[in-house]
C-alpha cells in the first residue's frame, strides 16, 4: 500500500515536471539566446550552451609555402588531397578540415569531446535599446555599423500609456460601481444593464468610429487618445467586477457613516476605497498587463511614428522587417516582458484572485 502510494506520487510529480519543462523551455531558450553572440544565435541552437559532445577545434595548422597544395598532403598521419580536406575527413578520434582557400587557408584539427558554448554578453540588449545605429567590433578588429533599435524610448512610451490607462478606467469604474451599488437615482437598473450588455462588444467594432473622432479632434497619436480608448474598452468589465465586490460590502458600515453625517464622496474615498483594495489591486494588475501587452489599440491610435511607438509595436516591427535578426528579437522580446513578469511574480496573490473573479478579457 505504501509503496504503491510512493509510485503514484512519483508518477504524478514526474508528469508534472515534464509538463512544466515543456511550458518553460520556449521562454528559457529565448532568454538564453538574448545573451548569446549575434552570429552564434544564427549558427547553433541555444541548447549548445549546455555541455554536450561535439567536434572541438584543438589546433590550427598553417602549412608553409613549401607544401604543394595540388598534391596529396599528410597531416596527423592522414594523407588526402586538398579537395578531400576541404570536405572534411573524420578518423576515429580526429576531424581534419581545411578552412579557407587553397593558398592562404589553414587546416583545422578537431577532436570529439565535451564542450559548451559560452560566449555571453549584454551586447544584444545594448543594441536593441541604445539607438538606431550601432557599431560593433568584429573578432578581427574591423568595425561594422548595424541597425539596432530604440526600445528604451518605446519603453518610456509604454509607461506613459499603461499607467494612466490603468488608473483612469479603474477610477471611473470605482465611482460608477459605488453609484450603482449604494446610490438611488432614476434609471439605475437600466444603466447597469447597459454596462453589462456592453461586455459583449468586441473592441474591433469601436476602432474605426473612434479613429474618425480622433482625426476630427486632432487627437490621433497622442497619449490621451490611447488612454481614452483603453478607458472605454476596459470600463464594462471593471465596473461590473467592482460592482460585484462593492455591493457585497456590509450595509451596516455605510449606514453608520451616513448617520454620522458623512457625504457619499467621503464614504467612498475614506471607507469604500480602502475596503476595496483587494478588488482594485486585482483588477489593476489585469488592466495594466492588458494595456502593456496590447498591440491592436496602439497600432491604430499611435500609428507609425517611431518616436511615439510602444514596445509591442517596435517588437512587431522588428518581427516584420528583420525577422531573422534574432539578436534583436530575443533581447527586444525580453525587454517587453520585464515589467509584466515583475508585476506577475511580485503580485501573484492578487493575480490569482483576479483570475478567479473573472478579470480575463475575452
Amino acid at each position: 500500500m505504501k509503496s504503491s502510494k510512493m509510485i503514484n506520487s512519483f508518477i504524478i510529480n514526474g508528469v508534472l515536471a515534464i509538463i512544466c519543462l515543456c511550458w518553460t523551455v520556449p521562454t528559457i531558450g529565448l532568454l538564453i539566446s538574448s545573451f548569446r553572440d549575434r552570429i552564434d544565435i544564427n549558427r547553433t541552437g541555444w541548447w549548445t550552451i549546455f555541455p554536450h559532445k561535439d567536434w572541438v577545434s584543438v589546433e590550427k595548422v598553417k602549412p608553409g609555402p613549401e607544401v604543394d597544395r595540388n598534391q596529396p598532403m599528410t597531416f596527423e598521419g592522414v594523407t588526402a588531397t586538398f579537395e578531400e580536406f576541404s570536405k572534411g575527413i573524420e578518423t576515429e578520434d580526429l576531424r581534419l578540415k581545411w578552412v579557407g582557400n587553397r593558398r592562404v587557408g589553414y587546416l583545422d584539427i578537431q577532436r570529439y569531446g565535451w564542450t559548451a558554448a559560452s560566449n555571453f554578453s549584454l551586447e544584444n540588449y545594448k543594441q536593441v535599446l541604445a539607438g538606431d545605429d550601432y557599431t560593433a567590433t568584429l573578432a578581427d578588429g574591423t568595425t561594422v555599423t548595424e541597425r539596432g533599435d530604440n526600445m528604451s524610448r518605446a519603453f518610456l512610451n509604454s509607461l506613459a500609456v499603461a499607467i494612466p490607462s490603468t488608473v483612469i478606467p479603474i477610477s471611473l469604474a470605482a465611482f460608477a460601481a459605488y453609484g450603482f451599488a449604494w446610490m438611488k437615482f432614476p434609471a439605475r437598473k437600466m444603466l447597469f444593464a447597459l454596462v453589462v450588455a456592453l461586455l459583449v462588444v468586441p473592441l474591433q467594432i469601436a476602432l474605426v468610429p473612434i479613429l474618425r473622432d480622433y482625426v476630427k479632434l486632432d487627437l490621433n497619436g497622442t497619449f490621451l487618445a490611447v488612454w481614452l480608448a483603453h478607458t472605454g474598452f476596459g470600463l464594462p468589465l471593471a465596473t461590473y467586477l467592482l460592482f460585484n465586490y462593492m455591493s457585497e460590502l456590509p450595509r451596516d458600515i455605510l449606514e453608520a457613516a451616513f448617520v454620522d453625517g458623512a457625504s457619499h464622496f467621503t464614504i467612498f474615498t475614506r471607507l469604500i476605497l480602502p475596503l476595496s483594495v483587494p478588488a482594485l489591486a486585482s483588477f489593476a494588475i489585469f488592466q495594466f498587463l492588458w494595456v502593456w501587452n496590447d498591440y491592436l489599440v496602439a497600432l491604430i491610435f499611435i500609428g507609425a511614428s517611431p518616436t511615439n511607438q510602444l514596445l509591442t509595436q517596435r517588437l512587431a516591427e522588428i518581427v516584420g522587417s528583420r525577422g531573422q535578426d534574432w539578436h534583436l528579437l530575443t533581447a527586444g522580446a525580453f525587454i517587453t516582458m520585464l515589467l509584466p513578469l515583475a508585476v506577475f511574480f511580485g503580485l501573484q496573490r492578487f493575480f490569482v484572485r483576479g483570475l478567479l473573479a473573472g478579470s480575463v478579457k475575452g
Binding site: 468610429p209 491592436l296 483570475l355 475575452g362
Partner: protein
C-alpha cells in the same frame, strides 16, 4: 441639527446663501479644467514634435502626472462644487458625478461606435452609397472569407478543447503534488507575456534553416534529430500551420484554465470523495462521476471565456504570419479590409459578424458567472 425648528425657519435664506457659495465653489472646477486643457495642448505639442529638446523621461513623467492627477482633480473639484449646493441638488447631482463619467465614456467608446459601425456595414467601401446587405453577402460567399471562418472554427474547437483539457489535467496533477504553487506559477507565467512577445518566442521555436545547415529552432532540430525534414511550420505547412498558431494560445491560456479548475477542485467536498472511495469507486469513476459534475460550472465559464478569446484572436496571427498562408482569422481580416484595402463597408460587416458571434457565448458566460462569488 440640534434644533429642527431653527433650521426650518432659516431654510430659504440659508438656501439662497448656499446657492451663492455654490457658484463660487465652481471656481476650482473651472480652474482645473482650464489648467488641464492647457496642459493637454502643451503635452501634445512636445509629444508629437520630433525636435523637442525636453528629455523624454520628463515628458513621460509629466504626461502620467497629468493623466492620473487630472482624473483625481476633476472628481474632487466637481464634488467640492456639488457639495456646496443645496441638499436637494446634492442628491440629484452626486449620482451624476459618480456614474456619469463612466456612462459617458461607454456611450462614446462603445454604444455609438456599434451603431456607427452597423450603419457603415450597409454602405459601400467609401461609405457613400447605401447597398444594404451586399457586404454581408460578399463576406459569406467569398472564398477567402470562407477560409477565415474555417480558421476561426479551428481556433474555437481545438483552442478551447486543448486549453480546457490541459488546464484540467495540470490542475489535478498539481493538486496532488508537493510542488503545487511552484508548478502553477510556471504554467501561468505566460499569461503575463504579450502576444507579440509570445509570437517571438514561438517564432524562435518554429524557426527553420536550410536542410544542410544546423537548425536553431527547437522543433526543427528535434525533427532533424529523429530523421525528419525541417519544415516551415507556420507557412507552407498548410492547413496544419493553423494548429501551430493555436498551440501558442494554448500555451498562453492554459494557466488561466488551470487556476480556475484548481480552485474548483479544492471546492469539491472531500466527504463525497471519501464516501465514494469507501464504496469502492475507482479513481477514474471518481473523476468522471463526481469531479466533473461538481466543477461543471467552472468548465463552462472557462470554455466560454476561451471561445470568446479565440473568436477575437488577432495579435498572434498578425505577428506570426500576418494572416498569410491561409491563417487569416476574423479579426485580422477585419484589419486588412479596413486598413489595407480601405474597404469600410466589408470591414464594418466583419466587425458586426464578430459581435453577433460573440454575443450568445458571452450571454451564456455571464449567466454562469452570476452564480459565482466575486473576488
Amino acid at each position: 441639527m440640534a434644533n429642527p425648528m431653527a433650521s426650518i425657519t432659516s431654510y430659504s435664506s440659508k438656501s439662497r446663501g448656499r446657492l451663492v457659495t455654490g457658484i463660487l465653489a465652481l471656481i476650482p472646477l473651472l480652474v482645473s479644467l482650464v489648467a488641464l486643457v492647457w496642459g493637454f495642448f502643451f503635452l501634445r505639442d512636445i509629444q508629437l514634435a520630433n525636435d523637442s529638446n525636453i528629455p523624454q523621461v520628463v515628458t513621460v513623467f509629466m504626461a502620467i502626472i497629468w493623466g492620473v492627477g487630472g482624473v483625481v482633480l476633476l472628481f474632487t473639484t466637481a464634488n467640492f462644487f456639488i457639495e456646496q449646493l443645496p441638499d436637494a441638488w446634492v442628491r440629484r447631482l452626486q449620482p451624476v458625478l459618480f456614474v456619469g463619467p463612466a456612462i459617458l465614456m461607454l456611450v462614446w467608446a462603445l454604444v455609438l461606435p456599434t451603431i456607427r459601425t452597423l450603419i457603415l456595414s450597409f454602405y459601400d467601401e467609401a461609405s457613400a452609397n447605401l447597398i444594404w446587405f451586399e457586404n454581408f453577402k460578399f463576406v459569406f460567399t467569398n472564398d477567402a472569407m470562407l477560409v477565415v471562418f474555417r480558421n476561426n472554427l479551428l481556433w474555437m474547437i481545438f483552442g478551447t478543447l486543448f486549453t480546457v483539457s490541459s488546464g484540467l489535467l495540470i490542475a489535478i496533477l498539481a493538486d496532488r503534488s508537493k510542488f503545487e504553487s511552484f508548478a502553477k506559477a510556471l504554467i501561468f507565467m505566460p499569461m503575463a507575456i504579450s502576444f507579440v512577445g509570445a509570437g517571438v518566442i514561438w517564432n524562435f521555436v518554429y524557426s527553420v534553416k536550410p536542410v544542410d545547415a544546423p537548425q536553431i529552432g527547437l522543433l526543427n532540430s528535434l525533427v532533424v534529430y529523429f530523421g525528419g525534414q525541417p519544415q516551415a511550420w507556420t507557412a507552407f505547412f498548410q492547413p496544419w500551420n493553423n494548429f501551430f498558431l493555436i498551440l501558442i494560445v494554448i500555451w498562453l491560456q492554459t494557466g488561466y484554465a488551470m487556476v480556475l479548475f484548481s480552485a474548483a477542485i479544492k471546492g469539491v467536498p472531500s466527504e463525497i470523495l471519501e464516501a465514494a472511495r469507501v464504496d469502492g469507486a475507482t479513481e477514474l469513476q471518481l473523476f468522471f462521476r463526481i469531479m466533473i459534475p461538481q466543477i461543471m460550472g467552472t468548465i463552462i465559464t472557462v470554455s466560454t471565456t476561451i471561445i470568446i478569446f479565440t473568436l477575437k484572436i488577432f495579435d498572434v496571427v498578425i505577428v506570426m504570419t500576418g494572416g498569410q498562408y491561409g491563417t487569416s482569422v476574423i479579426a485580422t481580416e477585419f484589419y486588412r479590409q479596413y486598413f489595407t484595402y480601405n474597404n469600410n463597408g466589408v470591414g464594418s460587416a466583419i466587425a458586426i459578424i464578430l459581435l453577433v458571434a460573440v454575443t450568445p457565448v458571452m450571454a451564456y458566460n455571464l449567466r454562469q458567472f452570476a452564480h459565482r462569488e466575486a473576488f
